[in-house]
Each structure stands twice: as C-alpha cells, then as structure tokens.
C-alpha cells in the first residue's frame, strides 16, 4: 500500500534467496563430487562451472525477460494454454519437489551428525518441513525478507572463517598441471550442473518488481556462491590435503573444526557454523514448498485455496527425504538430479519465449 515494493520480491531479495538457498546446500554437496573428478584443482572447476552457469543465466534471462509477466505460472498459462502448461508445470513441479526432498534429506542428516545426535533424521526433517511450511504460507515476500537477513549473516560468518583460516592454507597443494585439464573440465561440468538451479531461477525471476534487472541479480548471486564455494574448496583441500578432503562428507563445514579462532568462546566452531547451514536449509526447503504449492494451485485452478497444496507439497518433500539410505545415497541422488539441470534450462525458457512470440504476433 505505502511501500512501493511490497507485493513482489525485490531484485535484492531474489539475489538473497539464491545466495542463502544455494550457498549452504552447495557448500555441502558440490565440493565432494567435484573433488572426486578434479582433485586439488576442484576450486578451478567450481570457478569455471559457476561462471558458466552465471553467464548462461544472464544471457537467457536477458533474452527472455521481455516475456515475463507477474509470475511464471501466469506467463505459461497465458502463452501456452492450459493443456501444455499443465504438462510443463508437472515437470517443473517434479524437479522442484525432488530437489527439495533430496536436499532436505542431506540437511537433516547433517543436523543429526554434526549438531544434535539425539534428534532423529526423520524428526529433524519434519521440523525443517514444518518451519518451511510456515514460511511458505507467509509468501514470497516473507521468504525474500528472511533470505536477505540470512544471506548477510551467512556471508559475514563465512568471510570471517575464511579470513581466519586463510593463513593456514598450503598453496602448494593447489598447484595444477596441464595434464589435469580433462579432470578440471569434468569437474567444471559437474559444478555447472549443480549451480544451474534453473527451476528456481526462472520461477522467481518474473516475481521481481523490476524484471529488467533480474538477470543481473541472478548473475551476481551465482557469482557470489561460486566465489565462496571455490575459495572454500581451495581452503579445505589445502588444509586437509587432497585425500582427507575426498574422504570427508562435508569438508567445508568440517574445516571449521580445525580452525583456530582468536578469542573463541566455543570449542567446536563447525557445530555453530552448521547452524547457518540450517538457516540455508530452511530457506531452500521453504522456497521448494512455496513454489511447488503455487504450481499445484495453478495446475488445479485453485490459486486462492493455498492450504491443501501447501500440505501436499510438504508431504511430497518430506516423503522424498526417505529415498537416500545413507549420506552417500543422498549425495548420489542429488548428483543424479543435478544432471537434469541443463535440461531444465530448456524447459524453463519455453514459457517466456512463447510469451514473446505471442506478443510479436
């Protein structure tokens, strides 16, 4: 009413959602897979893959933003008709729910293993889903606002950890040779896939109050995440050594345990650090639940009745967290899903392209 940006998310909020949502989760899942392929040059792979994803997002959003209307769902229905958009929504919905469910499983497992052994994985998942549902029920503005705060807090803490840990880096471990270039490229492709959360990006971008600037927001978000992950991976590889880093499930988080903090009041910093990872999990699960319930609402022509769809989304996300048998199982599932991300680029730009074509006609 009195606040010009109140009914939509701002571009800063879009950036914050992507940073807060992706940073924590990718910090856990991305480095492990990339280290396997690129070895000590994993940080280069992540930098290349992240940069490629950021540039691709920038170009695609710039090209298609002319077709954006108030939401992805409305844009698709208007430009493609109900039938095709129903199929499209179903594909996007499955992708987002799978993403949310698999990440939830990793998050809950990490809560159990690093933070509270007494809290069962399934119970931790339930709590995360319930909190996310509360957040999703409050809408995209609320998620955007909370992400703005969480992203800043996370970045401050991560920056602090990096500054404190940097002196202990052994740069000789990070040296690469031309012979490793093949591995670097393979790792870069993996990093590119993991950063390409096209489903989220293309569903959130039309919701911004200035769609012309959303390309830049997405680009900067991916660059921030890439920079942090790349530096974090370099740091963990150099601190642990390559073999140790390969063995660790969440090297970036576990690295905090080996860092000497000046004047620290607690003994195991990685546990406190994982608290910010929990914030990230809430945001990612929250946005998954929000977007999937919104898609369901449009699929079944009931935009106003939110509760049944919210409940269905929560149940679906929660049920999927049972898929992984152990931490490695969870990682395999999420890596498998990351492989579909490049395909999601194509699926997600169908609607804006159709909208542009329709307008020109």
């Amino acid at each position: 009413m009195n606040f010009s940006c109140n009914d939509r998310i701002s571009n800063n909020q879009l950036r914050a959602i992507l940073v807060a949502g992706l940073l924590g989760n990718l910090a856990v899942s991305a480095p492990l897979g990339v280290i396997e392929k690129s070895g000590s040059a994993a940080y280069i792979s992540i930098a290349i893959g992240g940069l490629a994803a950021a540039v691709l997002f920038y170009i695609l959003i710039k090209l298609t933003s002319a077709g954006f209307v108030k939401s992805y769902e409305d844009m698709s229905t208007e430009s493609l008709g109900r039938g095709i958009s129903f199929v499209l929504f179903a594909v996007v919905l499955i992708h987002i729910v799978l993403y949310g469910g698999f990440q939830l499983s990793i998050s809950a497992r990490m809560v159990q293993e690093t933070m509270e052994k007494g809290v069962g994985k399934n119970f931790a998942s339930l709590i995360i889903v319930l909190v996310s549902a509360y957040m999703a029920q409050r809408g995209s503005e609320c998620i955007g606002r909370i992400a703005e705060i969480a992203a800043v807090l996370m970045l401050i803490f991560i920056a602090f950890i990096f500054i404190v840990s940097a002196p202990s880096m052994d740069l000789t471990v990070l040296r690469t040779t031309p012979a490793e270039s093949r591995g670097i490229l393979k790792g870069a492709f993996d990093a590119f896939c993991s950063m390409s959360a096209a489903g989220f990006v293309f569903m959130l971008s039309p919701k911004t109050n200035n769609t012309k600037k959303s390309a830049m927001s997405v680009f900067s978000a991916i660059i921030i995440v890439t920079a942090v992950l790349s530096f974090g991976t370099a740091l963990s590889v150099s601190c642990f050594g390559l073999k140790e880093a390969e063995r660790k499930l969440w090297p970036v988080i576990q690295m905090m345990n080996y860092t000497e903090f000046p004047g620290s009041l607690v003994e195991r910093q990685e546990v406190l650090m994982s608290g910010f990872y929990v914030f990230s999990s809430f945001i990612l699960t929250g946005i998954s639940v929000y977007l999937s319930s919104s898609l369901l609402g449009h699929m079944f022509k009931s935009v106003k009745k939110k509760w049944p769809f919210l409940l269905a989304s929560c149940l679906a996300v929660y049920a999927l967290q049972y898929c992984g048998k152990d931490a490695y199982g969870d990682f395999n599932l999420i890596y498998w899903l990351y492989r579909f991300n490049p395909v999601m680029y194509i699926i997600m730009i169908i609607s804006p392209v159709a909208a542009i074509v329709r307008r020109k006609k």
Binding site: M1, N2, F3, N6, S10, V119, L265
Partner: protein
Amino acid sequence: MELFKELNKNKEYIKNTFFGSDDVVFKEFDNKAVKCFMVYTDNIVDGATIESAVLTNMMVLGGSQPDTEGIERHLISVGETQLVESFEEIFDAVLLGDTAVLAEGDNRAVIISTKGWPSRGIPEASTEVVVQGPKDAFTEQGSINTVLIRRRIRDTALKVKRLKCGRRSKTDIAVMYLKDVAKKELVDNILNQIESINVDCILDSGYLEQFLEKRYSSPFPQLQLTERPDKAASAIYEGRVVVVVDNSPFVIILPSTLNIFFQSSEDYYERWEIMSFMRILRFFAAALSVALPGLYIALTVYRPDLIPTALALKISSGRAYVPFPTIAEVLIMETAFELLREAGVRLPSPVSSAFGIVGGIVIGSAAVEAGIVGPVVVIIAALSGICSFAVPNPEFVSALRLVKYFIIFFSAFLGLFGFYTSVFLVLVHLASLESYGVPYLYPFCGGSVDGYTDFKDSIIRVPLRLMKKRPIFARKGQKIRMADKKRGGGS
C-alpha cells in the same frame, strides 16, 4: 433529535436526559430581550470563563439579542463557539466541558468552549528517560499533548484532524501529520480505520493501538507508543503520523519498524560515534536477552563438548548438588526475575529500586546457597534481564521477554537444533510483519528500495549532516530533508 422552538420543551428534554447526574448544572436567566437556558457540567468547565465571557456579557452588559445567532455574534466573548440544532450535539458538548446556551423561540443552541479540565501539569518523562534533551512528557489531556507537539512544529503544513472514538466514551482523538510530507493514502487509511472502530470506549492509547494493529496475534508491537513530545514531533517530520488520544499520556506513532524500537531521542542529541556504539550495544543486548538462556540450555544439556573445558567443569561443579534439570533451573530464575520486575513496578518508586537490587541479590545468593540453582544460571538470568533494559522501548522489551521463553522451550527439547529453529521461526515471524505496508524488518530487509539510505539510522547512526534524506515513510518528492548549501532545495 432536533431542538424545539419552545424553550420549556428543550429544557425539559435536557433535564430528563441528565436526570440523576448531579454534576450537571442548569441555569435559567434573562438577557433582557429573551429568556435563556444554560447547561454545563460542573468541575470540567472553566468557571471564570462562564462568568466573565458568558453570564456577565449576557446578563449585565448584553441587551437586545433575540436569538441564539445574535447571542453568539454579539454577546459571547469566547473564541470558539458553534451553533447546533440537535440535542445529541448539546449532550456531547456538555459532557466534554463546553457550555450550551438556548434561547426562547429558537431551535438552535450556542455551544461555547469553556473546557477547564483538572490537569496535573506537564510531567517529566518516566519510561523514556534521557540524560541530554528535553525532559517534558505528554499528559492525560489530549489538547495539551497537541500543543506540546505543535510547539515543536511551527509549520502551516502540520494538520490536526479531530475525531471521536468509542460509542459511549466519545474519546477525543487527534491525528497529526505534515500534509506535504506524510503519504496521503497512509493518513486516509488511519482516519478510516479509526472511524470504523465500533467499540463502547477507548480509555487509553493502548486500546486504540490494539485496534489499529493488523497482526494483533503477534507479541511484537507494530505501532510505537511514546510519552516524549520531541519523539512525536521528530516522527511527524519524517512523514509518519501521530495519533493523540485524550486521557492518555502516550501518543501512537505509525508506521513503526523494529529498527525504530532501538532508537532513543538521545541518539540525535549526542555525538554520533558514541550513540552509534550505543545502538550496536542495544542490538547486541536485545539478541543476548532473547537468546542467552536458550543457548545456555542447548549447550550445557546437549552439547557440553562445545564449551571450553575449564568453563564446562565450573558449570558442572556449580550445579553438582542442584536437584533440578537445567531447564527447571533456568525457568526458576527467569520466573523469579520476572516476579521481581513485576513487583518493582507496583511498588512506590523510592522503594522499588532498593527492592529490585536487594531482592535480586538476596534471592539469587540464597537460591545458590540452598542448592536450588547453580551460580551460572543466576548470572545468565541476570544478564538476560539487564540486557533487556538496554532496549529503549518497553513494549518491545515485553515481546522479547515472551520470545525468550519460546526459545528456551525449543532449546530444551531439541538442543542446538531447537535453538536455531526457534531463532529462525522468530525471524520468519518478524519478516512476515508489516506496519501499514512497511516491512517490520526494514531497512534490514527491503533496504534496496531507497538505495539503502535508511541504513544511516539503523545499527549505526551517522552524523546528522549525512542524514540528508527522510526515511521510507515520507511521500515521493519529499525525501530530501537537508537543503544543499549551494543548490538550495529541501522540503
């Protein structure tokens, strides 16, 4: 109901209506030309005004005015008068301290402003005390409160809209704002909301506050109450709206954000470096007051391995003979502290501070000696309590106190995960709040809207010279508050 032409009928109706109200005074007199009837409520009128400006003029000096219009124009030497035609208007005026004069053969009455309420004068601020800055505070008299604000804003753009609220109390409400700075839709919205309130009485601004808040289920105040006229005036300059409620020494300022509850008037009267440090301290204190007991439970019960060994040993040796679990220990001390605070408020002020100190020390040390609680828990509860006092707004502090228990319970059941979850839930709740369209967490979120200029008056307070723009509340085109020396401008 319309007035009659016959004075006797009017007189009878008015007397019947006020039957049983012995403080209502009726007087019949002649002004030579016509028979008159006067009615007012004793003790809430200024007797001298009635005698000198009404009765003397009409009975001694006055002469040949045959109707109420003539009486109003020629005989009543009071600035504020009004002709009315219905009984309801007469009753409302009389109950408010005005005097009604009716004349034979006329179906109108003159309402003369003769208000003379008992007042306790302008007091000193008691809940928002400052070291440097004005000491005056609002009183229970709405008209004086309006004057206290007007004294600080000598601008014709300052508008005062008067309304009545409460079916029976007919409480006077004054809505004050700068016409060219406050957003029109905001003012209209507030006026409409007040007009739509259909309740029998509004006894205090706290009543009205609860009716104006959108999310009344939230413990966090979404409007600001202040007893300081300088704060209210400053808010008006920013483009916010002030609602003065008669019979209340607190005025309502809206919209309000979380950031505003950490601001004190003093912040702008003293050097920016010191006050910025104080601001940081307040935010830190608020976080500590809310989180400390919960974090203590989460760490000592679930993750003692996180605590440095020496400290962990001290904590465990301190509570070696304590028979209760940590959660009970914390709750005992927190409840004791709340009781001390509540009792301190009810006691006469000279006794209350001594009671607080003595009570705190005695209960704390006795509880430790008796082995009911460990010494660290006393420190945690006391620190949490002291920290809450660093926040300048009492209403916001009350909300923090409630939230603290929420975090305590979550931490007790789920440990560190519960602690983080509850903190996140509180943040989500805050992020979902709005005050008249302004996000509650502004400028910490949504700050990009105004190019982050509002950050200049948030966790730190930059020098006044750099605060060239008004906050988000001001309307478009009125953002610049400080004129450039060379270019001029500003509004």
